[in-house]
């Protein structure tokens, strides 16, 4: 494990210690720092933070942790920690606060695809970065997004020009091994009209005594584009993860996102899609498995602004040990969004008598010609099913394992990337085998 | 179990309540005058507010949570009124020459 740098906390001095960026990023940082200093830590008194208490969060993290130079970098070790990495059209590795490696298949660059370090992209393609950075997730959203805006370094920028199809997935691996550090992963994806791309964000770390990750993902999906976005959060124990992901779809866009959460001590993940133009489609899948004393707070928003859009959300989670998981989701159908078809489903299976699950699936419907529904459930492994399997000669523990897999099957079947599906299955297997 | 000194009798005026940290726990010590001292878990079993910010009723021997108004019996710890449904822990109290001692688990 690498120790983080000596600087601790977030103030003007800490900010001036970061290497300078382009002018508009510098201005953004300054403004975000002011917001950060002015905004309170979100209170449990507010609806948005009712289930997660950060009032005692000690912010004395190191604002910057180096990624190390190329020689000292043990790429094998990082890739090993990251698990299977399948065939990729591009792979970027960020270690701690810095991007340490970027690769893009030859030919894609020639087609105009841009993939790489967000800070470098801000310098080289300000016309693409400036209008989109923090356009969907403003820095002023919370104290933490402001912190992100001020102290972010590294991050990923992906641009796919109109009508370009990227066949293989692109991926960023964010690897954190600096104890006591705060990292700010940012993924900014801009997809042109009628383009197609798949992107995977994977967050990995060993167990740390403490660390903070405040991540933001912004997806601008152009008209008739087809975008798949997968996030896999596998931080180690000790990490506090606060992530916000927001997408905006164009006319007839097809957006499919998958959020997978297994790691961190405390993970709050907000996923939002704004269906801004007619004919858009948004699928939002979620899979999580909590154990030990993990605390998960998942929030979703299906924001139907334009008519004739469809959204479909399915989150499935299992809880073991003394873990706690909260799902709260919103379907908002705005007055002009007639002919909306929106579905929202949250299912929780509780495997321990000390685990706690909460579900709050909300609907706010301001148009009348809509088809909207939601369903939520929290329950144990059903005794009847166990009994049935036992009557077929299957041992109780094996029966429970099969039932949990059966529970997740519905969402796994809808993950189109085989490699992701397999690694999720593997992770579930490990969770089931592990203690508590 | 062991006896721990929390405060002196003079620290908690009659009919009032003060909060102390004992072995990492928040404990509310109440002075009921002639009826002596009581000590209960200082955090409401309902919505996790500090009970010592609420009112003591010396006649009923209860303390009221300031957040939703649940009252707790200072002798049994049981809620006398909803919306709290679970009791708060009660600690045995001794007054030894004006030192207030309470019994806590080691």
């Amino acid at each position: 494990m690498e120790p983080a740098t000596k600087v601790q906390g977030f103030d003007e001095e800490a900010l001036s210690a970061l290497s300078s960026s382009t002018l508009f990023v510098e201005a953004l940082r300054k403004q975000a720092l002011e917001e950060f200093l002015a905004l309170p830590i979100p209170s449990q008194e507010t609806e948005e933070w009712r289930y997660t208490d950060l009032s005692d969060l000690d912010l004395s993290f190191a604002p910057f942790a180096p990624g190390g130079d190329a020689e000292s970098l043990n790429r094998g070790k990082i890739l090993q920690a990251a698990g299977v990495v399948g065939e990729r059209a591009g792979l970027q590795i960020q270690r701690n606060s810095e991007v340490v490696s970027t690769q893009l298949t030859e030919g894609l660059g020639a087609k105009g695809v841009i993939f790489g370090d967000l800070d470098r992209a801000a310098e080289e393609h300000p016309e693409l970065v400036e209008p989109h950075l923090h356009a969907l997730v403003p820095t002023s959203r919370t104290k933490f997004t402001a912190l992100h805006g001020a102290f972010r370094t590294g991050g990923t920028f992906l641009y796919v020009p109109p009508a370009v199809t990227v066949e293989l997935p692109l991926q960023t691996l964010t690897y954190l091994d600096a104890d006591g550090a705060a990292v700010f992963p940012h993924t900014l994806i801009v997809v042109g009209q009628d383009a197609e791309v798949t992107f995977i964000d994977r967050y990995v770390s060993p167990a740390l005594s403490r660390a903070l990750s405040v991540g933001i993902t912004e997806i601008h999906a152009g008209a008739a584009s087809r975008v798949r976005y997968v996030s896999i959060q596998e931080w180690g124990d000790g990490v506090t993860h606060l992530g916000v992901q927001r997408a905006r779809t164009g006319r007839d866009t097809e957006l499919r996102t998958v959020a997978i959460g297994f790691g961190a001590s405390l993970a709050r993940a907000e996923a939002e899609t704004e269906l801004a133009e007619p004919g858009g489609f948004s699928e939002m899948l979620g899979v999580f498995f909590a154990d030990g004393t993990q605390h998960f707070d998942h929030r979703s928003l299906q924001d139907h602004v334009a008519p004739n859009c469809k959204s479909d959300l399915l989150y499935k989670g299992a809880l073991k040990g003394e873990s706690r998981a909260v799902y709260s989701g919103w379907v908002h159908v705005r007055p002009d969004a007639q002919k909306t078809d929106a579905m929202q489903t949250s299912r929780n299976i509780v495997l321990s008598d000390r685990a706690k699950a909460d579900a709050i699936p909300n609907l706010e419907i301001e148009a009348n010609d809509v088809r909207c529904g939601h369903a939520a459930s929290v329950g144990p492994v059903e005794e009847e099913q166990v009994f049935y399997l036992q009557s077929r000669g299957i041992r109780r523990d094996e029966a429970e394992r099969l039932i949990v897999f059966g529970f997740f099957q519905e969402v796994l079947d809808r993950i189109t990337l085989e490699e992701v599906r397999d690694s999720v299955s593997h992770a579930i297997e490990q969770e089931l085998a592990g203690e508590g | 179990m062991g006896l721990v000194k929390v405060c002196t009798a003079a620290d908690v005026p009659e009919g009032e309540v003060r909060r102390f940290q004992v072995n990492g726990r928040e404990v509310a010590v109440v002075n009921l005058g002639q009826e002596g001292f009581r000590a209960v878990d200082a955090i409401c079993s309902h919505a996790h507010y500090f009970l010592d910010e609420g009112e003591v009723d010396v006649d009923l021997e209860t303390i009221e949570c300031p957040k939703h108004g649940s009252t707790f019996d200072l002798n049994s710890g049981k809620p006398r009124t909803l919306p709290a449904t679970l009791p708060v822990q009660v600690f045995p109290v001794k007054n030894e020459s004006d030192d207030i001692l309470i019994e806590v688990e080691e």
């Binding site: 709050i360 609907l363 | 919306p83």
Partner: protein, 490 residues
């Protein structure tokens, strides 16, 4: 003859009617089709000059006029402090227009409570006749309590219930006549500092019902209370306490209405119910306030071992309603049910729902909500299912369906599910839809007019609720829906 109802439209109201004779069902329906049919105003009957605004002096005056014991006076004053200290709720409906300084907190309309309708002043009696209460009392009620402004002006219970030891009086009399039992339970289910409006009620409460049913006694016919606001800017703060002793049963029905004024009135009740071991309480509300009444009510029941608590909650009127009847399942095997139907028309926001808190093992709860919004109205379901540690094998099901009848209207669903027990099984489902074109087309092809077809579909939609109502109410509710759907009304 039914005793509630009315449409929600506020236009086309004639001058106050002078008549004080009972009207037939047909006349009711004719009147109904003209608009909100309870929009008549009686002359001012207050027996002392009422004052607007709220202060410790007003609270003291209410308590002293009622000749209350000192503990209640103190209870009120403490509650007033809580009310003043608490912020307005930041969630739910918009309450920013409530002017607490412009409200009358206490109006006494008669010197003493009547036991015969004839003993009431003529036009107050006429109001009850028009509402059909005396007739209903004769036909199918075990007892009637009629509250006019702040106090119950008429009260009667059938002799046989009296002889069985059933207590059914207004709350003020109960405090006088049964002080011990009132002191034991009053404010234990909903403490004065539960929420801002419970604090307000606790400070200025007046009237409401008190019911005690002795062990094993089944009250076969419903007991009814009717609440009428007559004065403009009236605040009505009734307080109801029901105790069903072991193995007993009672069905309590309440209705309400008010004339339409240009400025707002406030109705803020507190209802506390204790359902002891093996007992069952059914509480039916048909709320039909005029569209200038803020209806902000706290209703909560405690159900002990094997007890059954049922809330049947119809919210048809008011400007704003915020009401979530709740059940605390405190004893093993207790059951709770909430059936909620909400309608919101022009300018209305009905935020209703239900709560079930499972504290004991093997407890079950069912919440069914049906809402209809029309003409820019907004309905909301807000609910909580909570399973406390130790409530193993708790089961709960929530079903919410909303119909939105036009593009200006809105529906929200905010269900909270909190589970701290592995063996608990909870489910929630909700749908939001419009009246299906194919259904409409089918019915119209059978010769029904569009409003009639829509009414039929809406009636079918709320049928799970209406079938639980006493028949007279169910028939009336269906008629109301038909009238709501008529083009001329909408």
């Amino acid at each position: 003859m039914a005793v509630f109802g009315g449409t929600l439209r506020v236009s086309g109201n004639g001058p106050p009617r002078e008549t004080n004779v009972a009207v037939s069902q047909e006349e009711h329906l004719k009147e109904l089709s003209k608009g909100y049919r309870f929009d008549w105003k009686d002359a001012d009957h207050s027996v002392f000059t009422p004052k607007r605004g709220l202060s410790a002096a007003v609270v003291e005056e209410i308590s002293s006029l009622k000749g209350e014991p000192d503990w209640m006076r103190k209870f009120r004053l403490k509650a007033l402090k809580h009310f003043e200290a608490r912020p307005m709720p930041w969630w739910g409906a918009d309450l920013s227009d409530i002017d607490f300084e412009n409200i009358y907190y206490f109006i006494r309309s008669t010197e003493k409570q009547a036991k015969n309708w004839e003993d009431l002043p003529e036009d107050i009696r006429g109001t009850w006749d028009k509402l059909g209460i005396p007739e209903a009392e004769k036909k199918y009620l075990g007892g009637v309590s009629a509250q006019y402004e702040s106090e119950v002006v008429y009260h009667k219970i059938k002799d046989e219930l009296d002889q069985m030891g059933v207590l059914f009086t207004d709350m003020d009399s109960a405090l006088r006549d049964h002080p011990d039992i009132v002191k034991e339970y009053f404010g234990t289910i909903i403490p004065p500092n539960d929420n801002k409006f419970a604090s307000l009620n606790s400070a200025v409460w007046s009237g409401g019902s008190f019911i005690y049913v002795p062990p094993g006694v089944h009250v076969d016919i419903p007991l009814q209370a009717y609440f009428r606001i007559n004065a403009e800017n009236m605040g009505q703060f009734e307080r109801t306490l029901i105790i069903a002793d072991e193995g007993s049963y009672v069905h309590y029905v309440e209705g309400c209405s008010a004339p339409i004024y240009t400025s707002d009135s406030l109705h803020s009740a507190v209802v506390e119910i204790i359902v002891k071991k093996g007992a069952r309480v059914r509480y039916t509300t048909i709320q039909n306030w005029s569209t200038n009444v803020y209806n902000l009510v706290t209703k909560r029941a405690a159900a002990y071992e094997d007890a059954v608590m049922e809330w049947i909650d119809g919210n048809i009127g008011s400007k704003v309603t915020m009401k979530y009847p709740s059940i605390y399942l405190l004893g093993k095997g207790a059951r709770g049910e909430v059936l909620s139907v909400a309608y919101a028309g022009k300018g209305m926001h009905t935020d209703a729902g239900g709560k079930a808190v499972h504290v004991a093992p093997y407890t079950t709860s069912i919440i069914t909500s049906k809402s209809v919004s029309k003409d820019g109205g907004r309905t909301g379901y807000r609910g909580l299912i909570r399973v406390e540690p130790g409530a193993h094998h708790a089961k709960s099901n929530v079903r919410c369906d909303a119909l939105i009848l036009d593009e200006d209207s809105r529906s929200d669903t905010y269900p909270y599910i909190e589970v701290e027990e592995e063996t608990a099984a909870l489910g929630h489902e909700a749908t939001v839809s419009k009246v299906g074109d194919d259904q409409l087309f089918y019915l119209m092809s059978r010769g029904l007019s569009e409003p009639a077809a829509t009414a039929m579909i809406v009636n079918g939609f709320i049928e799970p609720i209406t079938r639980e109502l006493p028949m007279e109410y169910a028939v009336e509710l269906n008629r109301l829906i038909e009238l709501q759907m008529e083009g001329s009304v909408g």
